[in-house]
Symmetry: C2
Subunit: 348 residues, 2 copies
């Protein structure tokens, strides 16, 4: 056995959350189950990590289904997959050693054995560890890629972001502000709206729980919308589409309001894409993972300068993950949804 | 009076077609009226043209309405606007002289007085004059721009073109073939399908009058669709959207099947733009008029080499224009719809 092997495996307990059955419509707690699994000893080229933070993300709803999508379905009876921040406890790869703090795709587990090639070391001095799952992680990269490739906001243009306090939306708002755009955020409830108004200082804020889509967008975007950064779908998408300006861009990032639907509702008649020369384009951040460093090179200085605010909604303990994921799909989270699975050695 | 003034104005008769009332739904002959108007003497910088060919195009349906669109509504009681090929009979611009054959935006009139800046001289040796309204005109440029900017077909990809025998569609098919794509054409009726099969030698042909959209596309595109060049809309659009491959592009050029609708039918749920990273983009050729020469530099050699086939549906006499335009909106034309308004000095 390698010298760095520790004895944590002696108790052989690896708490995990598995998908017990595939939800029909909205997932319920009974679709999940907490088990004790085993800890897999890392093989050559693998790293064993103790999970500190687990990321919960809207795309996970798609992985609960058994249909083809851009990410493979979660296996029934298997621990759910998700991105994690953790501490390396055993390494069979020369790039990592015990005590390293790192990011990886992992599972809803206390311990994850993962390929070292997918592990990225984190510098706790740069930013709190949990941000690697949100603002400085794939959600942040999602906002960056969506705006860089599709939205391309210009100074003075009007950018509307739905789910604007979400992990992706909040970064999209701030990157659009940095580009000089006029930014309008849509969020649900006064607490979220207050944050958009007071902390992000958006140009206009819409509370989708109390406002009517058409009226609210007419009020906040009197000249129409140049870029709609779509995280939600539904009636707000229809209303935004109807208000897109000529040469407008719809960044299709997510449509969380429909993820629990069992039947797809129709979308807008597309003739207006011609009349108004609109571009509607979807993307999946996984296709752009190679741009993470490019994104971080821009985002970390902004964050350190206090110009990239973030919200995190951290629930405690792995067994809180199913309820938190269900809540996320209903918009009950306030900021990036994270599960704290184990102790964070860098937290004060 | 300038020396080049001729005496044709002495009879002062300028047959014209005016829009009498705005159609609700499908236009009917009674929405139009034939009048005798006057011939306007050209002012400095203008050219007076005798109309030889008048172009009828699907976008004209939008101009019959009184709503905002990318082209201004036709005025009630005014001669309808349209692109023409004609002969210069009087010129107040040094670039043109009587006898020149030229293309311009004009009106449904025997004589059109137009700004010289919008007139483009035609070389009758390059191609038949009427092609300047179709394959070598804005419809051809439409196909070119849509594929160059949005469709971007690659060798081996599957490109589906709706209204494939239309003025735009036929060029789109052949440019996609030239790019090495596998091309599937959709058209209505055996005569059109035979032309696509026998003359264009497309890889697959669908008769939308007898085939069911989903089954027909499954049969002809077993691996899905990379580029859908949309001229039609409706159930075929839904079926094509559902079969778009990952990273597919929908070139939104026209949706003629809905132009007579009084209420917009819904479109596809857009979540699949995310799952399959689709790009749906509309365009209007008028924004790209500056690329006409670039297009012609490619198209004229192809045409001369017999590698750019075209179909024209020429009706005779200005007064045939309303019925031909009504028929065009119902897909009754067989190829580019042109009205022969006056004698063509180059025709054999």
């Amino acid at each position: 056995m390698p010298a760095e092997t520790t004895d944590f495996r002696s108790n052989d307990r690896n708490r995990q959350i598995v998908l017990k059955r595939r939800p029909h419509g909205a997932p319920v707690p009974e679709d999940f189950e907490a088990n004790d699994g085993r800890i897999d000893a890392p093989q050559e080229g693998q790293v064993l990590m103790r999970t500190i933070y687990l990321s919960l993300d809207p795309y996970m709803r798609g992985r609960m289904n058994d249909g083809p999508s851009y990410a493979a379905p979660w296996g029934l009876g298997e621990p759910c997959q998700g991105r994690i921040v953790g501490e390396v406890v055993e390494s069979r790869d020369s790039r990592f050693r015990p005590g390293d703090l790192a990011f990886s795709m992992g599972r809803f587990q206390q311990y994850c054995t993962v390929p070292a090639d997918g592990v990225r070391k984190l510098d706790p001095a740069a930013a709190p560890l949990s941000t690697a799952l949100g603002t400085l992680g794939f959600p942040g990269l999602t906002a960056y890629v969506g705006l860089a490739n599709i939205g391309q906001p210009k100074a003075g243009e009007t950018v509307v972001v739905s789910a604007a306090t979400g992990a992706v939306g909040a970064v999209a708002c701030q990157l659009a502000q940095a580009a000089g755009a006029r930014v309008v955020g849509i969020a649900g409830g006064e607490r979220k709206c207050a944050w958009l108004r007071d902390t992000l200082k958006l140009d206009a804020v819409i509370d989708h729980k109390v406002e009517e889509p058409g009226l609210a967008l007419d009020r906040s975007c009197p000249e129409g919308i140049d870029v709609y950064f779509e995280n939600v779908g539904g009636a707000w998408q229809d209303a935004a589409f109807a208000r897109m300006r000529t040469f407008g861009r719809m960044v299709m990032c997510g449509m969380i309001s429909g993820y629990n639907d069992t039947q797809a509702r129709p979308g807008p008649n597309l003739v207006q894409t011609i009349v108004r020369r609109l571009r509607i384009e979807g993307f999946v951040v996984g296709d752009h993972a190679h741009r993470m460093q490019e994104f971080l090179d821009r985002a970390i200085p902004l964050l350190k300068a206090g110009r990239l605010h973030y919200l995190e909604d951290v629930v405690d303990g792995l067994e809180a993950a199913p309820a938190a994921l269900i809540g996320l799909l209903e918009g009950r989270n306030f900021g990036k949804q994270v599960v704290k699975v184990g102790s964070d050695p860098t937290a004060s």
